[in-house]
């Protein structure tokens, strides 16, 4: 009887090229996604060594991070960002890599376009010079972020020197209540185990609540695995996965499709396989979540008061929380609900897909955003933008008084012109509330698209259940 294995082990085992003496394993990478910010120094490294890209057919590029979300007929105003995007497109052409450039009608956020185009498939190893690469784990792929040195390694050899991670089972059972979404599951997990709780681990999300999520919702969950410190997070593929992939441009076709599905079904974790760590969450007890501090682990139900730092378990944590509240300009004991906001941002690789836009539109339909609030709605890709427009969502957003923008990372990373002013408060559907993340001095409350849209209407942090009845 072979030892029962997790899906994580199965993918790992099938991608080990060799195990050199005294070194980590050489892990083969099936798909390498590149973008404009973390790749230029890697391409330059190849040039200096006289190397080519070993497998351009396993590499794909898009620009998203420093790419503005203003109308595409306008030039990129920031000369430094423009030079970076131009250098990226030049590098892709020079090294023979397929890419969606700034003006391509399918351009979008790297973690949105991979799944959308069917590049992301179960059982793959996928890397990108971006920590939110775990998003692709929603398809049952082992997907993780790497640094620029490793981008160069993969470009040159299609391999990484890699030690295996520990396995961490995250079981989420029960049914989500109305007004509670995938974003609330992942914010609740990070609040429970902390921003370092998953360090050294790969999460496997399982349980009835995960099974009942759509692919887009699963991507939201996997996307933020890194915010709990995990290297990657994945979900075993099932019929929901296959239905999503079927017919996408890069998905297998005909007999290849049938063979692929049979192979993908065999990836699921064997009965009795052991995990290094486990945690359970009861989905039916979750409420809409929101963060109050300066890391994604500082999350609470939207109805709860801001915790008192003096209740933290140790001195450094107490100081960390005090510093966070000082930066955020908040007092312990007061609820966040009712706190004024200046900006609402709906977008990012966490929450910029059709499900997210439809959720936001369901709240904004027939309503107006509070005149004090600037609301940005930024689709994850130009394809999503067109689909949303075909469904009339853009009209709902614009009639409500929100801005409907072009695809990109936008205000999640504030290096493309979209940013908070110092001191401003934002309810944001993105993934990080670090100091200055959305603009120097800006203050971020992370939440779901429903909570963000509800807060846009009222102008204060709002429990979406009060508006969706």
């Amino acid at each position: 009887m072979p030892q029962p294995r997790t899906i994580i082990q199965k993918i790992w085992d099938s991608h080990v090229v060799c195990q050199p003496e005294g070194a980590p394993a050489l892990l083969y990478i099936d798909l390498h996604l590149v973008h404009e910010v973390t790749s230029p120094q890697a391409f330059e490294g190849l040039r200096q060594r006289g190397l080519r890209v070993r497998r351009p057919d396993r590499t794909f590029g898009t620009c998203d991070h420093s790419t503005p979300t203003t109308p595409r007929e306008l030039p990129i105003v920031d000369p430094v960002a423009r030079a970076q995007v131009e250098q990226f497109e030049k590098n892709c052409r020079e090294f023979g890599i397929s890419y969606f450039g700034f003006l391509n009608p399918r351009q979008g956020i790297v973690h949105v376009i991979g799944p959308e185009q069917g590049l992301t498939q179960p059982g793959m190893t996928i890397v990108c010079g971006d920590s939110h690469t775990a998003t692709h784990g929603a398809f049952g792929a082992l997907a993780f972020g790497i640094g620029t040195s490793q981008v160069e390694h993969v470009l040159a050899t299609q391999c990484l020197l890699q030690a295996p991670s520990k396995s961490f089972a995250v079981r989420v059972d029960g049914s989500l209540r109305p007004g509670v979404s995938a974003k609330d599951i992942i914010l609740a997990l990070i609040a429970k185990i902390g921003v370092g709780g998953g360090t050294g681990c790969v999460f496997e999300y399982a349980g009835s609540a995960i099974r009942s999520l759509s692919m887009e919702e699963r991507m939201t969950v996997c996307n933020m695995s890194i915010e709990a410190g995990a290297r990657a997070g994945l979900i075993a593929p099932d019929d929901t996965t296959f239905e999503y992939l079927d017919g996408r441009p890069f998905a297998p076709k005909g007999e290849d499709w049938e063979r692929a599905v049979a192979r993908w079904r065999s990836l699921v974790t064997d009965e009795g396989a052991a995990y290094d760590k486990e945690v359970s969450i009861d989905a039916s007890s979750l409420e809409p979540m929101i963060t109050y501090g300066t890391n994604p682990g500082m999350g609470i139900p939207v109805t709860a008061p801001v915790p008192d730092p003096s209740e933290a378990p140790d001195a450094v944590e107490r100081e960390t929380r005090r510093k966070a509240l000082a930066y955020m300009g908040l007092e312990a004991g007061n609820p966040l609900a009712g706190h004024p906001v200046n900006v609402v941002f709906i977008g990012s690789c966490t929450n910029s897909r059709m499900t997210d836009l439809r959720a936001a539109a369901s709240v904004l339909k027939g309503r107006k955003v509070n005149p004090r609030v600037r609301v940005l709605v930024v689709p994850g890709s130009q394809s999503i933008k067109r689909q949303a427009e075909a469904e009339g969502l853009d009209r709902i957003f614009c009639e409500a008084g929100a801005e409907w923008r072009e695809a990109g990372c936008s205000m999640c990373i504030a290096m493309n012109g979209d940013q908070l002013a110092p001191g401003e408060y934002a309810v944001s559907t993105s993934n990080r509330n670090f100091e200055g993340r959305q603009g120097k001095g800006g203050r971020t409350f992370l939440a779901s698209p429903l909570t963000a849209a509800a807060s846009a209407v009222t102008g204060v942090v709002t429990d979406p259940r009060t508006l969706i009845g």
């Binding site: 420093s66 399918r106 498939q121 050899t157 370092g196 297998p252 290096m415």
Partner: protein, 207 residues
């Protein structure tokens, strides 16, 4: 890569938990296509005021922090974004090691590839070192990778863990890409027996 040798240094003390790479170098400085010139942007928003003047009370703006080669930080250092600009900025400022109780995975990997040694010590050693440096901010530590020891200002030697392969690479100046390239035969054999699941060049792209 230069060989990593033992050294003695002052310590810049920044005892904050969960210092993320957005603090180490804010995203707006990531529009560069070069690795150079990032040292001045290290901890930018903590280091400079709204007018861009150095904050005199920030540890890197005053002695001995401004000349230290070792940074003492809180738990889970380097969490968040995978940007390798973080270790580039730290090493260009002059740091050769960071001491903490733990490091985020991607940061640790990036640091080791840039001759920046992440030294993880138990919480009680971390607290002791903090106390010693509070008492004498000019106290020095000695970092010896070969013996994997950190000598505290009072001379106490503390062992720290390092991945053996990373240690060899640092001590001998081995370049990881060079190591990978030597396995061409194994990589080619693997590719022969594992057909690509996707061909990114197979679909014609519009625009």
């Amino acid at each position: 890569m230069e060989k990593f040798t033992a050294f003695e240094s002052w310590v810049a003390v920044l005892p904050v938990d969960n210092i993320d790479t957005d603090q180490i170098i804010p995203a707006r400085f990531l529009k560069t296509t070069s690795k150079e010139g990032l040292g001045d942007q290290l901890f930018f928003d903590w280091r400079y005021d709204a007018e861009g003047r150095p904050r005199p009370d920030f540890v890197l703006n005053r002695p001995p922090g401004n000349r230290a080669q070792v940074l003492l930080a809180g738990d889970n250092f380097g969490c968040g974004s995978s940007r390798e600009h973080a270790p580039w900025a730290l090493t260009q400022f002059g740091f050769k090691a960071v001491i903490s109780t733990s490091f985020a995975d991607i940061f640790k990997g990036n640091a080791l590839k840039n001759a920046l040694l992440p030294i993880a010590v138990p919480a009680e050693i971390h607290a002791q070192l903090l106390k010693m440096l509070e008492a004498d901010p000019l106290g020095t530590v000695r970092v010896d990778l070969a013996s994997q020891t950190l000598a505290l200002p009072d001379g106490t030697a503390v062992e720290f863990p390092v991945d053996p392969f990373a240690k060899t690479c640092l001590l001998e100046g081995v370049d990881e890409l060079g190591f990978l390239l030597k396995h061409e035969a194994e990589i080619a054999a693997f590719e022969k027996s594992h057909p690509a699941p996707v061909d990114t060049l197979s679909v014609k792209l519009d625009g």
